[in-house]
């Protein structure tokens, strides 16, 4: 049973609690620049989008890593062995969704490790915009959200 982080962008209020708790639980200190998740913001448009590793089935980052520091865990997906990472940034360059960060202090690549199966960002997100769900539930959840949107739209139309 594989689980994944499911982010509902419409629910995000841009509080950055996810970044803060991510750095605090991984580094023992607060530093969003060292977080594995980051909220991308467009202030002029009021848009906040949390971005992070999506745990690809066939990870490009793993394929391009020249020293095989990235491995695939059956339950937790891609994981980086920091003792091996040389900071070449190939994984960041090749990631199709911008899900990997560069730790400005240790100068190494950082990527979500799903907190050994208890993601702290999901636990403390005040809006449940970040949830940790069974991968198999994803299409169902998206479909249900789609229907809800359609419902609202139709109600507005009928008014």
């Amino acid at each position: 049973m594989q689980k994944m982080i499911f982010i509902d962008y419409d629910k995000c209020i841009g509080c950055k609690t996810c970044e803060t708790v991510c750095s605090l639980s991984h580094e023992g200190r607060v530093n969003p620049a060292q977080a594995r998740i980051s909220v991308v913001r467009y202030e002029r448009l009021g848009i906040n989008v949390p971005m992070m590793c999506q745990k690809c089935q066939d990870p490009v980052c793993m394929a391009v890593c020249p020293i095989k520091a990235i491995t695939l865990d059956p339950a937790l997906g891609t994981q980086i062995d920091y003792s091996r990472c040389v900071g070449c940034k190939m994984c960041i360059l090749s990631c199709p969704i911008g899900g990997i960060s560069l730790d400005p202090i240790n100068k190494k690549t950082i990527m979500c490790d799903l907190c050994e199966g208890e993601p702290q960002c999901a636990k403390l997100c005040p809006e449940q915009a970040i949830e940790y769900i069974e991968v198999s539930l994803l299409p169902y959840r998206k479909r249900r959200d789609g229907v809800e949107k359609l419902e609202t739209f139709l109600k507005e139309e009928r008014k």
């Binding site: 509080c15 609690t17 708790v21 023992g28 607060v30 906040n48």
Partner: protein
């Protein structure tokens, strides 16, 4: 240090140099934020300086919780001597600037001196540079922030708009594109230093004493905030606030002469219709679950973030009696971009409209549009004139009190303001005796900095809760009744202490209350590694409050200055739920006596020697 970065930047604009001082020696006694800021202001400034001269330092200070995981810990406090009141000027802002400053390695910034030509301060971790800001001067807040970000949205900016450049007393300091240290004319202080902006980016991070301890506390703190009765409703407050003010009988309209504007329900409906049709996204400040902000974009007018707050859209509507929401939104966008305090500006507009309707501005405003209540074009036009100091706007730019003194002809009697001349925040004051007392004894004239959320606020709509809070704080339910003078001094002192602690720790005063001091103390201990108790925190609040008092006394403040505009005593309410209410001078003075005694101040409002010794001041 943990929780603190232990560095405060001192930027001397006259001599163009930057150095740092340690936070540590102040932290123990003054906590952080507002507490350390007032301590620095007291130390660095001689008494009696001209607020717009280089001798007036401008102090930005975060608290030990700012930028930590603690809910609502995005706050930063700003202090200088106010050009509007010539007393202590203080304002507190949320958003993301405070946390970013700490991640860059600084607890605060002290700006001293003044630059010869426009500059901005550029901070990236250890690189702190005073740069030429000529190209930014004249720009609105939105463009200034955009220009300084150069594409990196994580750069946080504190800046002034054209109103601050023109030394308008109603100008605030914007934190990026939404939050403001709005009140008291701090924007003008920044403008007088020709400091257009501070841009900060930090990637150094912040040390925390007990990471797991802090993580463990946060869920429970969030839960308490979510139990607030208003929590569920916050995203709708942008239009519901009108009804909430109404249900608490706090509304008034125009320049305090009308509690029952007949067209108000139409205006509320308009607001609801506009907001429902607009592009709308919920927003919040750093680490805060409250989401009292929203990004609203109204087609054909524009988009911006706005707080569901009595000081924003409701303020513009109720003061100017404009029911065209499109015009109100336009007015709001202008204030945000010009760098104006929305609440003070709307009060000044109402004052002008009142005078105009009495024929008292005949020689000062001869053009169209007519300055009458309800005229949206007049509202927008006047805001532009105030921000650019044009014509009548140049007089109004001083704020209600000073403007009335310039205009004369009896306009002084129409002016309504809090201590020192700061415009009152949007709510009827006469029936609310605790609020009135608070306006008079406050540090800065700013009631929402002192006692926002006082339980008498919501006595009409949530009687049970108000009574419960009053009983918990001062031992009797009666204290919650707005029109009672009894017990109010103690209630005010308690709320002031809690606000001071929120502003000093670096949390927001709205979620601060429901979380409770016990948990805040634990969060402080987890972040800093320094154990504390609610009692110790309250003692620190007492110390900070008395130091604020000493600051104002040094500026010449006496007992008689602890008051609000005469009209609130002389002119009983003509209509509405509180018909006939006004402030009773004798009972008001008795409240002051009791308040001074609680603070350990003498009957003149001067801290007693024994109080100073107990608090370890001077």
């Amino acid at each position: 240090m943990n929780g603190y970065t232990d560095q405060i930047l001192v930027v001397d604009l006259t001599n163009k140099n930057v150095r740092t001082i340690s936070t540590q020696k102040y932290a123990d006694r003054f906590v952080g934020g507002r507490g350390i800021a007032v301590k620095l202001a007291y130390e660095l400034m001689p008494g009696g300086v001209n607020p717009l001269k280089p001798e007036n330092p401008l102090i930005f200070m975060t608290g030990p919780l700012t930028g930590t995981l603690a809910p609502s810990s995005g706050r930063i406090d700003v202090i200088a001597k106010s050009p509007e009141t010539s007393l202590l000027g203080g304002a507190n802002a949320g958003g993301f600037f405070g946390p970013e400053l700490k991640y860059a390695g600084y607890d605060g910034i002290v700006i001293v001196g003044e630059a010869a030509s426009p500059v901005y301060l550029d901070i990236f971790n250890d690189d702190v540079t005073i740069r030429d800001g000529q190209h930014l001067w004249g720009n609105g807040v939105f463009d200034t922030v955009q220009m300084l970000r150069k594409g990196d949205e994580d750069v946080q900016v504190a800046c002034i708009g054209p109103a601050g450049e023109k030394l308008v007393n109603l100008s605030g300091i914007a934190f990026s594109m939404r939050n403001y240290a709005a009140r008291g004319g701090l924007g003008a202080v920044m403008g007088s230093k020709k400091l257009k902006a501070i841009a900060v980016r930090g990637t150094k991070g912040l040390d925390i004493a007990k990471a797991d301890g802090l993580i463990g506390l946060v869920g429970g703190m969030q839960d308490r905030i979510k139990m607030m009765p208003s929590y569920q409703e916050y995203p709708e407050w942008h239009y519901k606030l009108f009804d909430i003010l109404e249900s608490d009988s706090k509304s008034f309209f125009g320049n305090y002469e009308d509690a029952a504007w007949t067209e108000r329900f139409g205006a509320y409906e308009n607001a609801k219709r506009f907001i429902k049709q607009a592009e709308f996204r919920r927003e919040t400040c750093f680490a805060c679950p409250l989401r009292c902000w929203a990004y609203i974009n109204i087609k054909g007018i524009g988009g911006s973030s706005v707080a569901a707050c009595q000081g924003t859209l409701t303020s513009l509507a109720n003061f100017s009696k404009v029911n065209d929401f499109g015009k109100l939104w336009e007015a709001y966008l202008l204030c945000q971009d010009f760098g104006l305090d929305v609440s003070g500006t709307s009060a000044v507009v109402a004052f002008a409209m009142d005078l105009y309707s009495r024929g008292m501005l005949d020689d000062l405003w001869m053009q169209e549009p007519k300055l009458v209540y309800g005229n949206g074009n007049a509202l927008v036009n006047l805001i532009r004139k105030i921000a650019t100091r044009e014509g009548l706007g140049n007089i109004l730019a001083q704020g209600v009190k000073q403007a009335s003194e310039t205009i004369g002809k009896g306009s002084e009697e129409r002016a309504v303001y809090s201590k020192g001349g700061l415009e009152l925040w949007l709510m009827e004051i006469r029936p609310f005796k605790g609020t009135a007392l608070s306006c008079a004894v406050t540090d800065s004239g700013s009631q929402n900095r002192a006692t926002y959320g006082l339980c008498e606020f919501y006595y009409k709509s949530m009687k049970k809760q108000a009574e419960m809070v009053a009983k918990n704080l001062v031992g009797t339910e009666e204290a919650a009744i707005p029109t009672k003078y009894e017990h109010k001094p103690k209630l005010v002192a308690m709320y002031e202490n809690l606000h001071i602690l929120a502003d000093s720790l670096g949390a927001c005063s709205i979620p601060f209350m429901p979380v409770g001091l016990e948990l805040w103390g634990q969060a402080f201990a987890a972040a800093t590694g320094i154990e504390t108790t609610p009692k110790a925190l309250m003692l620190a609040a007492e110390r900070i409050r008395t130091l604020e008092r000493l600051f104002n006394i040094r500026e010449g403040l006496t007992r008689k200055d602890d008051t609000i505009a005469e009209r609130m005593f002389n002119e009983p309410l003509k209509d509405g739920a509180w018909k006939g209410e006004a402030l009773n001078r004798e009972k008001f003075e008795q409240m002051k006596d009791a308040y001074y005694a609680l603070r350990g101040w003498d009957t003149e409002g001067k801290p007693k020697q024994e109080t100073l010794e107990k608090l370890g001041l001077e």
